[in-house]
Every structure is written in C-alpha cells, then in structure tokens.
Amino acid sequence: MLKNIRLRPLVNFYKYSTQPVAKETPNYDNQIKEFERISKLQQKVRPKKPQRAPFVKNLFLGVFDTDLLTYPEITNEELNNLNKALQPIQTFVQQPEIKDCNKITRDFLKKLSNAQLLGLQAAQLNNGRELTVTEMCRFFEVLSELKIRNLLIHNEVLAIQTLVKFGSDQLKHKYLEKLVKGEATSAFCVLESKSKIGERTGVKNLDGKTWVLNGERKSVLNGSNADFYIVMANTQNNTRDEITEKKFSFFVVERDFGGITSTSCGGNDLSDVIFENVTVPHENTIGGENCGEEILSTIYPQYRLSTGPLCSVLVKNLINNVTEHFIRVSKKPNLLYETDAIRTKLGQLTTSLYAIDSMVYFTSSLVDDYENQDSELETSIVKVFASEQAFLNTSACLDLIAPDSVFDNHWCKQLHAEALSQVILNDSNDNLKILIALFGLRHAGEQLNETIKKIRNPFYFSTYAFKRMWTRRRIAEDNPKLNLYLHHYLHPSSMLASQQLEYCVLKLQYATETLLARHGPEVLNKHQDLRRLADAIIDIYAMVACISRSSRSYCIGLQHADYEMVLANAFTLGALERVKLNLNKIIEGPIGTNDENYRMLAKRLFELKQYYPVHPLSRNF
C-alpha cells in the first residue's frame, strides 16, 4: 500500500513576508533544528474515493447503499504508523502530572506541544500532524484519559480546525503556529444568549479596514483563560418582507485587543464572554466575510464526531470499573457476578459500548474515504447516540452499585457528571435530534415532493390513491416485503439481524412518507414526531454499524468475533423494538399517541405559570 503515500520534501515559500524583519540571532541552533524538521517532513497523500450519495439521508427514502455494509478498514501501513505514533503518547498521558492536571498552564501546553498533541490536523509545516479523521478519533481516545480532555479537544476541533481549514496563510502564521506550539490557547464563541438572537454584533467601520464587535457569547469553554477568541458575529442582516436573513462571519480576536470581559460560570471552565466595542482588523476575518454558516457547517460535524471517542472511553472505563467492582465485592456464598441482575445489566452496557465504538469509526471512515462526503447527519447521530448512551449507562450503574455510589467523589458519580456534560454541552441532544430529523426530511422532501403532493390530494389523484393503497398494502400491514436483500452483503450468521435492519429501513421510509404527507411543510414544527423519527434513525444507523462490523470481524476471524456476532444481534434486537415503537407512533398519528394530551396539559401549565392541580387533600365543599 506504499503507493498511496508519496514521499516528497515539502518547502513552501511565502511570496511576501508577513513578519517584520527578524533580528539576526547569534544562535543558529534553533534554525538548524527547524530546517531539519522541515526537510524531514513527508507529505501524506491519501487518495479519496469519489463522493457517494449521502448514506443516512437516503435511508429516509428506503435507499440503502450496500457498499457501506463492508465495514471500513485502514491499511496495515497506516495502522502501524498510527500505533507507532500512539505509543509515546500513551506513556506520556499516563504521567500523573499530565493526567491529573486540571488547569491549562503554559508549562502544560509546552509539554503537550512537545508531544505534538496540539494541532493534530494542522499541516506538518505548521508543526501539526496532518491526521485523518479516523486517526484523530483514535488520538482522542488516548487523550480522553486526561482530566482536561474537554478543553483540549474543544480547542483542537473548533479553534485550531477553523484556522486550519479556513484561515488565510497570514492568520495561520500569526495564530495557528502559536496555538500549535502551545504558546496560546483559544476559545470558540458561538452561542448567543437566547433573548438577544438577531442583534447585530459585528459592524464594519466606514474605512472598511476594521470591524467593531459587540455582544455576549454564552458558555464559552476556556473563555476566561484564552488568548485568542474565535468569534462568530452577525455581520449582515438582509431584511425582506419582515423576514431577516442573517449573515455571520468569523473573527480571530486577541484578548489584547481590549474590551473583552469574561465571567466564569461554574464547572467545566465555562464562561460568558462579553465583547464591548472590540476593534478587529479586517485581516482577522476567517474565510471571508459572511461565510459563517459555511464554516460552522464544516467545523461542527467533526466537533460532533469528537464526542464519540470521548464517550466511548468513558463507557469503557465505566464497564471495566463496574466489572472489577463486582468481582471485588462478591464473596462466597454471595457471588454477585453470577446473578442474573448483574449479568443482564452488564451485557447491556457492553452492547451499547460496542455500538458506540462501531459507529464512531464507521463514521470517521465515511468522512475520510470519500471526497467531500455529506456527513452532517452521521456525525450528529454519533454525538447524540454516544452521549445519550453514556448518560444512560452511567445512571444505570449508579443504581447498580448503590449504596457505594452515593458519595460525590465516587468514580461512578464523576463519570455520570461527565456524561451529562457531554449531553448538554454546546449542542444539546434534544436540539440535535430535531436537527437530525429535519436534515433527513429535507432530503426526503426534495425527492418525494411529487408523491407527497399526490398523497395529500387524493381527490385530484384518485387513481394514484388506489394504486398506493395496493402497492403499500404490505407495509401498511406492518409486514413489508424485504426487497433490499442486505444479507447478500453480509456473513450468513448475520442473516436475522440484517433482515431486522431491512425491516426497519423500509418502515422508516414509510413513516417518513406518512409524516410528510400528514403535515406537509408544517412538519417543521411537529417536534415530538421529529424526535421519534430521529430516535429511529439513530438506532438504525447504530444497527448498520454494529452489523457490518461484526460481520467483518467474523469473516476475517478477529479475536472474540463470535461474541461480536452476539453483540450485534443483541443490539439489533433491542434497537428493533425501539424503532418499531417510535415509527408505529409516527404512523398512527396524533390520535393514537399520547401527544395531544401532553400538549394540552403543557398549554394550561404556561397559562397558569405553575403546577396547577390542587393539593390531593383539598375539598370543594
């Protein structure tokens, strides 16, 4: 596989110097070192396959890309390189002063930078590692051992990534290198306070050379310590017929520009950052004016994906700790680890970790292997699924190992808090779920528009209505004909699971059609159904990842492959129940579900502004 990696020295000259002329230093050692480093660099060229149709989005249409049932692999060469690179990192991370450090200091950053742990995806010229997404996920797994992981990964996937992908050479030179060298830290400021959405926060000065930023950004990680802020500001409002179209731009703002105040708001080093008349030179715009949405939609997928490895390690630690715990506390004749209660729970934990793991690398390879692959949906799913599973698992364990776990400093409590912060940090899962469903429905809506029009107007298209009744009779009876033949692409042992998956996909397509036909464009506001749809698609995607991984492992005979098969089957069966429940509720509509009751109750709640039923002991006469 050597042919994939072409070797050539890489030296890039700037056309114009962007730095003031350096004073001659008598010490040439550094320069010699630098020169050596640059000349040793080997550019990694990884050929990408042509773009595929979006995978999960197409599931909404019942189209299954069977090629993806082959679980992705990386080459032996790459794997060896990766393991070689990881080895020193693993030992580095295990050092107690690194592992337990809970505050970013210059010293700490310098150490990280020396271990080349900053700027994982930055160009090698900039002292980065130029990792692929898959490799980065693997790195993140190792980094997750650190106490300070959130800050680190946040810094990496948001700030550094933005500069790497969109920064001009000048910005890269000025800021990225500092970040990579550990001379500065950054914070990424996007969230506005809810009440102030839509206020213009960035105004261009008349001379066109500077911008003035105003406004507040909520829950910024590392907001109080950062040297640079990557800020998204609303720079243009195009109002037409009362509909305001907002344009955003990204800026690099140095703390030294002045006018920045931050107030720390508790755990996780979160702060609210306030910008007051901060003047920013025009060169500090990232990726050009009004490109904010484009930047966000490129940066966020990887950011969401990064939750995957974090949670995977979290659950792994959880499982290992719990297993050890039960081995330790079991004493003759109470062998806890032989009880049904413990076994079933831990089995569930293992299954869910298996699903997280499979999903993370399935997705990362999707991003890596194909040119410009549309993966916004897949990465969002990883974020939601991984964090939700971590949360559910940790709470299950808290219950399982009670009463030991009541104390706040118990490891399980800490894992639980960590999982919770993954659920709500930045993109809350609930919002993301609705987004997931909408991504899918938008895609489906484009393709299904004609069909939906016909279904919604049965009196204009009566032949079609009858035809549809006939062609869709089997799925309407919940007994679809499995005509995707997914098991043709898998090991025969996965037959049952693949058929269950197929059923889910077909049912999902039917539910999508039904939902669009029922609400039309109003579907946008049917959040409860959107949540269900999202839950279903998340489960289905996890099923695909599990089944394809286990089938591959079984075929090539990996260690524990037989158990992987059981894991995949177990997950599929569990997911099938959930998917069925969710999709059936969508298909049944508001009458069949409980939604209408809840809506009514909540409406009254807001009218009365508090819990309204009178006390159970109250009398009327």
């Binding site: 959405i197 809506g445 669009l516 464009p521 946008l524």
Partner: protein
C-alpha cells in the same frame, strides 16, 4: 313506575303557584293584616345587617313557638329582603330560615303522599329558597341535608333539589378558565390588578407593573397606574413607524363577578397583511432554522402575534386609580422609559367620557369612591 313518571309533571305545575297564584298575591297587596306585620317588620329595621336579620328570625320563632303560623309567608318575605341586609350570600342565614319549619310534621307516611307533594306550599317555599341560594351561588352543605331530611323526610322535593344542587354546583364552582381569588379582594387597586392580569393573560409573557403617577413631573393626580405590556408588544412598539399616531382608547369595561373595572388600551392601526399564498403541499424545500430549532416557524412569513388583530394592534393596557386623562398621560410617560420610541410618536387620546370612578359595585349601584 307510577311514582317516577308523575314527578316532573307535578313539580312543573306546582312551581308556578307562588308566582301567580293567590298565595303570591298576598305578599304584594298587603291587605291581610297578618302578613303585613311580618312583611313590614323587615322593611322597618333601621340597621340592616346579619345580626338584626337573625334577630328577626329569632323573634318570629319565639313569638309563636307552638303553632308558628305563617312561617311560609315569613320565609318568603325574609327571602325578599335578604339583599338589603347583605346576607344573600350567607349560608348560615339560609339554614336559619329553613330551621323555622317544624321538624317531623311534613314527613310523608306513604308513597302517595310523596308523589302528591305532601304539604306543597311548604315544600315549594323551600324549593324557592334553594333556588335563590343557587342564583346567588351559595353552595349548601351536609348540615342542610340533615335539616331538610328532618323536615321533609328522605323523599321530599326540596331534598331532590338539594341533591341536584350538590351535583352541579361544585362542578361549576371552579370551572372558570380564568380563576380569580374567591372571595374577591375588597380594594379597588387589587380588583383592577386582577382585571388587568386576566385581560393580559392572552400573552403569558406579559409583565404587569404598577406605577405611581406622582413620579412624573407636572402630574396633577396622585394615583396608581397598573400597566401591562408584553415583550412582544415592546418589540412591536419599537418597530413602530414614528409618523403614524398611537391611540389611547377607553374606558372599556370588564366584569369580575359583580364588580366592574374600567381599563384603557394603547393601540395602533392594524397593518394590512396581504394573505400569503402558501403551498401547503410543497415539501421540496423544508428550511431548517439555523439556530434555535424549536420556536414555531413558518416558511414564508412571520407568524403574527396575538396582539396584532384585524381592528388594531394593542401595544399596552392599563387601569388607573382615577381613570382621568391626566393619569393616562403619566401612564404614557412611564411607558416611555421602557419604550423610548413613544417620545417621538404622536399619541392621540380618544376617551369616550371622563368617568371618575373605575370600579362600580354592581349590586346596589353604589359607586365606591376610589381611595
């Protein structure tokens, strides 16, 4: 079978008796001396309150404790005078009135007596009493049931009336979707606050604030102003075109039970919204909102708020202690602090009449002076 079929028929016939029959006439033309005494005595009392009313009942009961003649007539005239004594909402008084009737005498002994309304005059009298209770929204209690049982027995018609009341009245008692304190507060200020809160509950974000008019310079009146404005209204006001006038309108009336409160609105002319043709079948371009995924969105338009009605957009609401123009001016001045745009907009006061009172007690048409 016979029994049940006859019930409604009999009751229907007999109910009319006191209204048009000779019995009723005896009250109005006071020719018969016996009733004249009872009737007048209620009228002649000078201090009319619950104590004197109860005293009247005691006097009647003690005067002729053996035969107690004319008790039906007494009860009817007592019922008539309840409101003037201010006891028409008092359960205790009703019970005292029922207690006037002798126990045991009117209890029927067989089914025919039951069905042919044993002692019809007395039964009808108590039915009318219960009816008056119902009209005044006084809910009976279990003591009254005991009382009625002792007088008319288990199958008396007043008992049936009582049971029907006990079925329906509790159900209606709390049925109002806009609950207000029960009993209503006495103060004018509290009443006005209840009223404004009730009206402004269309938008649950509304903030009700109380201003003092004297905080504004040049204000003659010294009174309170209860003002209600929602964030949406503030926003609407902010986006208001300053060349178009705003109108302060009123007074309008709102009722809280028997009390009336007047209020004023700040209104602007309705904006003509062209009905937008929307293809409700087109799902080809579902727009995903970039931030803030949950608030209700329409693809093409901003959903008009509840304040924007066909006949105008309501921007704020108030009730003042004096309802005078002067207090309304200071209301606008107070609003100006939150809504600077008001300083630039012409505000037109179109008040229909300069009433001085904001709360009228509906019962005796007596107007309560404010403060």
């Amino acid at each position: 079978m016979f029994v049940t079929r006859l019930v409604p028929l009999m009751r229907g016939n007999l109910r009319i008796v006191p209204k048009v029959g000779p019995l009723a006439r005896t009250f109005s033309d006071s020719s018969e001396p016996k009733q004249l005494v009872t009737y007048r005595s209620f009228e002649e009392i000078e201090t009319k309150n619950k104590n004197t009313y109860l005293d009247m009942i005691h006097i009647f009961v003690n005067r002729d404790s053996v035969h107690r003649r004319g008790h039906v007539e007494f009860i009817y005239s007592a019922l008539k005078n309840m409101e003037s004594f201010g006891v028409h909402k008092d359960l205790e008084v009703y019970k005292a009135l029922i207690d006037v009737l002798p126990k045991g005498k009117f209890i029927p002994r067989n089914m025919f007596q039951v069905e042919f309304m044993h002692y019809p005059k007395q039964q009808q009298c108590i039915i009318d009493l219960l009816e008056q209770m119902e009209d005044n929204a006084v809910m009976p209690d279990y003591d009254m049931e005991e009382l009625l049982k002792n007088i008319f027995g288990n199958r008396g018609f007043p008992l049936r009336k009582y049971w029907r009341m006990m079925y329906w009245m509790p159900k209606f008692k709390n049925a109002s979707p806009w609950p207000i304190p029960n009993p209503l507060p006495d103060g004018v200020y509290e009443l006005a606050k209840c009223a404004i809160e009730r009206i402004s509950s269309v938008d649950i974000q509304t903030q009700v604030t109380t201003y003092q008019s004297k905080d504004i310079e040049d204000c003659v009146d010294d009174t309170w102003i209860i003002s209600a404005q929602a964030p949406i209204q503030k926003d609407l006001l902010k986006r208001h075109d300053v060349t178009e006038p705003l109108y302060v309108e009123g007074p309008f009336r709102v009722w809280l039970k028997h009390q009336q409160v007047t209020y004023f609105t700040l209104r602007k002319n309705a904006k003509f919204v062209a009905p937008i043709k929307e293809d409700l079948d087109d799902v080809s371009d579902i727009k995903i909102p970039f931030f803030n995924i949950k608030p209700p969105v329409k693809n093409l338009t901003v959903v008009p708020s509840v304040h924007e009605q066909e006949d105008g957009t309501i921007l704020a609401l108030c009730a003042t202690g004096t309802s005078s123009k002067d207090s309304l001016v200071s209301w606008i001045r107070h609003l100006e602090k939150d809504n600077p745009v008001l300083a630039e907009v012409p505000v037109v006061f179109t008040l229909r009449s300069g009433t001085k009172e904001i709360v009228t007690v509906g019962d005796d048409r007596k107007q309560i002076e404010n403060k």
